[in-house]
Symmetry: C2
Subunit: 365 residues, 2 copies
């Protein structure tokens, strides 16, 4: 088993990664339960994995009532948040109890937020079942629901007590979702680790073909990178954590334009957004054009969109910049952008002119 510590003082926790971990999770979780039940929240797509987990907990003597929520982004709602907290209260959950989030980013975000506000905070464990959740959303403590005005606008920073990652659960994940999650893996290379991006270029095919070693390496390296960045800036106040948003500002505009729907998954939008961030950096003379082309080529090679057209977006620059203005990262009237001086050399730029961005987008339509 690989164990990666997330060093956050009193809120520190471990991420454990091991093929087959779901079936032996009961042993790992029993000490946390201290004889109390561990409620599981999951979604309608995960019945088989949930059965494995419940059986493993039962074998370790831990009771685990289950709440199954509808799969999909619409579950990150006020109505589901209230229903979930009502259910947890009905289960008699107290502050020292641990609730298990078994699912992708939707379940992790919703359960993380619900447990952060239940009795002003109880504990939770993340068992992420998608590649995106394993390498990104399950680590770092960002939790949220969506509001009428936009995605993830209501939420909290709430760290899990433990994250259990079983790479084998990816065997049943649709390829499109695997690709979407892979965008965040490649992101860690682009941010500050050119050697890891080169590893991605060499090993992506093996990863998509199901090679267990390639998957374990990709997940372990990504989690370690995220743990390092989050430990340096837990609440996104110093700018370090903002590096994780590479591709997310351009990507947010694409998601808004496509209505945050299955037309363009979050990871797909991030892929296109990273390609756009590098292309914009190259156009501005900040980054070699060859690096921007290498980023786009790798994303294309794994079937991810490398720009506006591939993402199916035809809107003009002004429209897309308009979406960016509703990004929750807006600071007064400016929006910080992640730009690049090269692969593995990104930085936060707070002086980007939005009209220049709009003109760039019009140029690459």
């Amino acid at each position: 088993m690989t164990t990666i510590p997330v060093a956050l003082g009193a809120r520190s926790y471990d991420v454990r990664i091991e093929p087959g971990l779901l079936a032996s999770a009961g042993e790992v979780l029993a000490p946390l339960s201290r004889g109390r039940p561990m409620p599981i929240v999951t979604d309608t797509n995960l019945a088989a994995h949930c059965e494995t987990l419940v059986a493993s907990l039962a074998a370790a003597g831990v009771a685990a009532p289950v709440l199954v929520l509808p799969a999909g982004e619409s579950t990150k709602s006020w109505a589901q948040l209230e229903a979930l907290t009502d259910w947890l209260l009905a289960q008699g959950v107290v502050r020292s109890d641990h609730v298990i989030a078994l699912g992708g980013g939707v379940i992790g975000d919703l359960v993380g937020f619900a447990t952060s506000i239940l009795k002003r905070g109880c504990n939770f464990v993340q068992i992420p079942t998608t590649l995106l959740a394993q390498v990104d959303s399950s680590v770092g403590g960002k939790t949220a629901i969506n509001s009428r005005a936009g995605k993830n606008l209501i939420g909290a920073f709430h760290q899990p007590s433990l994250v259990l990652i079983d790479p084998q659960v990816l065997d049943t994940l649709p390829q499109r979702e695997l690709r979407a999650g892979y965008a965040e893996v490649a992101k860690y290379g682009l941010i500050d680790d050119a050697a890891f991006f080169a590893w991605c270029e060499e090993n992506a095919d093996a990863l998509f073909a199901g090679d267990p070693a390639a998957r374990a390496t990709a997940i372990g390296h990504s989690v370690a990178a995220k743990a390092r960045i989050v430990a340096a800036d837990e609440r996104e106040t110093t700018g370090t954590r903002a590096l994780l948003n590479l591709g997310h500002t351009f990507g947010h505009a694409l998601e808004a334009e496509t209505g945050f729907s299955d037309t363009l998954l979050h990871g797909e939008a991030v892929a296109a957004g990273m390609a756009l961030a590098f292309a914009f950096s190259a156009q501005q003379g900040l980054c070699p054009a060859a690096d921007a082309e290498r980023v786009a080529a790798h994303l294309r090679s794994v079937g991810l969109p490398d720009g506006l057209a591939a993402a199916g977006v035809t809107a003009d620059g002004k429209t897309l910049v308009g979406h960016m203005l509703h990004d929750k990262k807006m600071e007064g009237s400016t929006l910080p952008f992640l730009l690049a001086r090269g692969i593995g050399q990104t930085y936060l730029d707070k002086t980007v002119d939005l009209e220049t961005v709009a003109a760039f987008l019009d140029g690459v339509r």
Copy 2:
């Protein structure tokens, strides 16, 4: 102006107390606004105070859009929380902005919670307008709404950036609400400050008659006591902060029995609860009977209930203990109680037997 610091590291803030402060709040708040609007959330009972505040902000060049919510406990709901966050998002509030909570505990709890989850946390300023909010709920960062299952079960620890207390606003507060707030003032003496309790006994009449010096002393001393206790245990993890719950476990049972209604205000329940905690301590041989009688006599003398009958509660001990089991302070199957060895000598006892409590309550019906 009296300034009391609340020392919480990066979350430290000041409580400023001054008669007439509401009319000069604009000067104090303008530096926080940094040219941005400061949205005000208040309730239907506070139109005149809100007008004073808006005028003061306008004179200091600060725009202040106002949201007026229905007065009363039912405003601490999921529906109002969602509506409030939608309104704040529509106002374009960003993480570095400050939202003003102008009101009593309901407005402070709701706005504090809403700002804690808006974009994962923006700032807020408390301007408490009841004695209860001035000496208790506006300081310390506990925020919440009520759920179907009980009061304050959904919330967060979220510290304000600043608390402005104008004792003059109490001139328009109904006497019954003033008395209810006074229960929390006397509480600080009973917890660990026998000299302050003696001051209360001597000066309560002047305070209720409107003497500005008595009010300023009572508020300043109470805020300083709360600031000290909260600084020692911000998130209620070491047991120190639990001292603030003196009378609240018995009181919670009385509030639950009377349906959390205007039949028995929170402060009235706390008064009766403190008298019961001292009477129980005396009955258990922990505390001199004379101290328990002195507590009851002082509460009676200001018109606060000193026990079950005065609180209008006729339920038996078993019923009342049943309500306590739904207290969010429950730890597994035990409930910590604040007991007393004398006036100013309270302590947390985690070994209290609930059947003994029930028998005691039957004995004092």
